[in-house]
């Protein structure tokens, strides 16, 4: 049963992150996910200090606040001070993360938190965090409910905004000419990414969030030429990675989040190498002038 809850958690996060990640990589914005997932640290610490507990709601609010602050600062420095985007991302998230670590060190005595949890997450503790009704009925792990709700929101968002998301990612100029607001869809997507990152990091940690945001979509992107198929493959990959990753962690007795990230990498590597071989093979059998 414990294994089931952990795998389910991993799969929920993988599918949610992957679906949004498809649009992030198509918009060439992958690193924004990286920035948000690191920037949540100070928010969590402050929420913890204020509420004095590890209740889910204050943590989500705190993390969401600093996550959004990060996207805002990146955008602000880029627009107002003309700072190049990559530098804006690098400066902003490291600053927020450093603040988080300092807060943890300063309040080390009062806080039952450490910096590790943000990077690694605590997926192994998910089955313990049970939701118990006042009547005493155990309804299963609480994170499962939160993550399922987020997944549902993301699926609805993509279902109803599919054609706008597709068009604003592919050809923003044409979208604006049709009267579709590219800025609106940009911020909706950012909000969805923030929500997902914030609700996922506690279970799986920042690193695995990034791996799930980018890995499965990148793999699916190489496998198909169709956006709907890309989304489907991403979701399927997410589930497979979560199962195999858990199994590997169990076998090695090592970090679950780490193993899932490694499996993500292996999936990508397999598809990538397979394609390279096919391309070279094609070139050998049907020689054509080099394009380089």
């Amino acid at each position: 049963m414990i294994a089931f809850w952990i795998i389910l958690t991993g799969a929920l996060v993988a599918v949610t992150c992957g679906l949004l990640g498809c649009f992030l990589i198509l918009r060439k914005m992958s690193m924004v996910g990286d920035a948000i997932s690191h920037a949540v640290l100070p928010g969590i610490v402050i929420a913890f200090l204020l509420s004095g507990s590890r209740e889910t709601l204050p943590m989500l609010l705190g993390a969401g606040a600093t996550g959004l602050l990060a996207t805002f600062l990146i955008e602000y420095f880029h627009r107002r001070a003309n700072l190049q985007t990559d530098a804006a991302i690098g400066v902003t998230f490291t600053f927020l993360f450093a603040i988080g670590i300092i807060l943890i060190s300063v309040f080390a005595g009062k806080i039952d938190l450490d910096q590790d949890c943000v990077l690694y997450g605590e997926i192994a503790y998910v089955p313990i965090d049970l939701w118990v009704t006042p009547g005493g009925t155990i309804l299963g792990p609480r994170p499962i409910y939160i993550l399922s709700a987020v997944l549902l929101i993301v699926i609805l968002f993509i279902k109803f905004g599919y054609k706008e998301l597709k068009l604003t990612s592919f050809d923003p100029a044409f979208a604006s000419a049709l009267g579709i607001s590219t800025a609106l869809w940009h911020y909706l997507l950012m909000a969805a990414v923030s929500l997902t990152t914030v609700s996922s990091f506690e279970s799986v940690g920042a690193i695995l969030v990034i791996a799930f945001l980018i890995g499965p979509p990148a793999t699916a992107y190489l496998m198909t030429h169709d956006l709907k198929q890309m989304l489907a493959i991403t979701a399927a990959l997410g589930i497979v990675i979560s199962v195999v990753g858990y199994w590997m962690a169990y076998w090695l007795n090592a970090s679950i989040a780490g193993c899932m990230a490694v499996i993500t990498g292996l999936c990508f590597a397999t598809v990538f190498v397979y394609q390279r071989i096919r391309v070279t093979h094609k070139r050998l059998t049907h020689p054509e002038p080099a394009t380089d």
């Binding site: 990589i25 990286d34 190049q84 991302i89 400066v91 300063v106 780490g258």
Partner: protein, 429 residues
């Protein structure tokens, strides 16, 4: 104050080590960081610093001890491998660079986590402290480590010094560097290696996550103070050194404070101050220039009102009251009043109770603005075929910015005209 003296006298050998270590690593990271930044590869630095973790763990597994030299070699290998992988994925598939960076970063770090937990499970007593590499612990720098760091920093310094011109050119104009026959690919590889070296040097002090800041933040801040690449490197290094010193000092006075994160915070604050207040490029000076320009426009437009009123009866220095002025041009009354007061203190106007009149200098200035307006109108109609009834709005802006040189050129091109397209006279000065 006592703390301050104790610290900066460097009598305590611990202080000496920590300070020297911090200064070396922040200076070398900042130096390399400038080139990474100019090549728009800031996030590559982030990827490298995450990617050294598996190397460190592998070295530990291999040697069974916490030998700094071994770990640095391990870190160097995986860091370098990560960079090569990013480049390979980005060039050999349709995947874009940002996705390649994120993928490599998370997968390499994930592999590191697996190895780290594996080591922890294996119960090797020496493993304690291995996770310092993740979050950094500058205070644990000891004498032998310092020797290694000094050597690495010296290598970085010499390499960047030798290839300065080439790096600058590649960062600035890659195709041109290629055309000149520079070995651009090899220079890329060299810069890659130097980046990894800088990351490896700094990782023990600030940890993998914050290392990106040591590379990029000082350079990003320096960019706002100069356009000259030599000065930019010097300023970035100075900022880096200051942040290194400040971090060490803060954790010296308050031992609960971690050095690495404070170095990053100080460095970020320098960067934020630069973004906001750096002369010319900062946000605040830009806003200030805008306000100043708006004030100039308001002043010159007000002077123009006096001139236009004067033109009606060739009595340019006559006294005018508020209602008369407002009549010539739609304008906000409070703005007009403050502008009139400012012009009076500048002695371009003289106040006579509720009335104002142009002074001699004021008249000269007013005539010049009107003159530029009419010259520009003439230029637009003659050279740009814009209809005479459409040129006024453009001229309203241009009249405020034409320099004396442009004015002379304009007059010359137009053949020293006397009348504007509306057949009114262009004032002479």
């Amino acid at each position: 104050m006592q703390h301050f003296i104790d610290f900066f006298s460097f009598t305590d050998p611990n202080v000496r080590y920590v300070v020297l270590g911090n200064v070396l690593l922040s200076a070398s990271a900042a130096m390399v960081g400038v080139f990474i930044l100019l090549q728009k590869k800031a996030l590559v630095g982030d990827a490298v610093s995450h990617a050294v973790l598996p190397g460190i763990c592998a070295a530990f597994l291999f040697s069974g001890s916490k030998n700094t030299a071994f770990m640095l070699v391990g870190a160097f290998i995986t860091g370098w491998l990560a960079l090569i992988t990013i480049d390979y994925i980005a060039t050999k598939s349709k995947l874009k660079k940002d996705a390649a960076i994120g993928l490599v970063l998370s997968v390499f770090f994930g592999a590191g986590m697996v190895m780290m937990t594996y080591i922890q499970q294996s119960g090797n007593a020496a493993q304690s402290g291995l996770d310092h590499f993740i979050f950094g612990k500058a205070a644990t720098l000891i004498g032998t480590d310092l020797v290694i760091f000094s050597v690495l920093a010296a290598v970085l310094l010499v390499a960047v010094g030798l290839f300065f011109k080439a790096f600058a050119l590649v960062a600035f104009d890659r195709p041109y560097a290629e055309a000149l026959g520079y070995p651009v690919r090899k220079l890329d590889l060299l810069l890659t290696s130097l980046t990894v070296l800088a990351v490896v040097t700094g990782i023990t002090a600030v940890g993998v996550v914050l290392m990106a800041a040591m590379l990029v933040t000082p350079g990003a801040a320096a960019r706002y103070w100069t356009d000259n690449i030599r000065r930019m490197v010097a300023i970035a290094v100075a900022f880096g050194v200051f942040a290194g010193l400040a971090g060490a000092y803060i954790s010296y006075t308050a031992p609960a404070m971690p050095t690495g994160p404070w170095m990053v915070v100080v460095s970020s604050i320098i960067a934020f101050v630069s973004f906001f207040f750096a002369p010319k490029k900062g946000i605040v000076p830009k806003l200030y220039t805008q306000r100043k320009n708006q004030r100039i426009i308001a002043e010159e437009n007000t002077l123009k009102m006096f001139y236009h009123l004067g033109e009606r009866n060739s009595h340019f220095k006559g006294k005018r009251d508020l209602s008369e002025l407002i009549h010539t041009r739609q304008v906000n009354e409070t703005l007009l009043k403050t502008t009139l007061r400012r012009l009076a203190t500048k002695q371009l106007l003289i106040a006579h109770g509720q009335q104002w009149a142009l002074t001699d200098v004021g008249y000269q200035k007013a005539a010049r603005v009107v003159r530029l307006h009419r010259l520009w109108e003439l230029y637009l109609t003659q050279y740009m075929d814009i209809a005479a009834d459409h040129v006024h709005d453009d001229a309203e802006t241009i009249e405020h910015i034409l320099t004396p040189e442009l004015e002379r050129e304009l007059e010359h091109q137009l053949g020293y005209p006397k009348k504007d397209p509306h057949n009114t006279e262009i004032p002479k000065i």
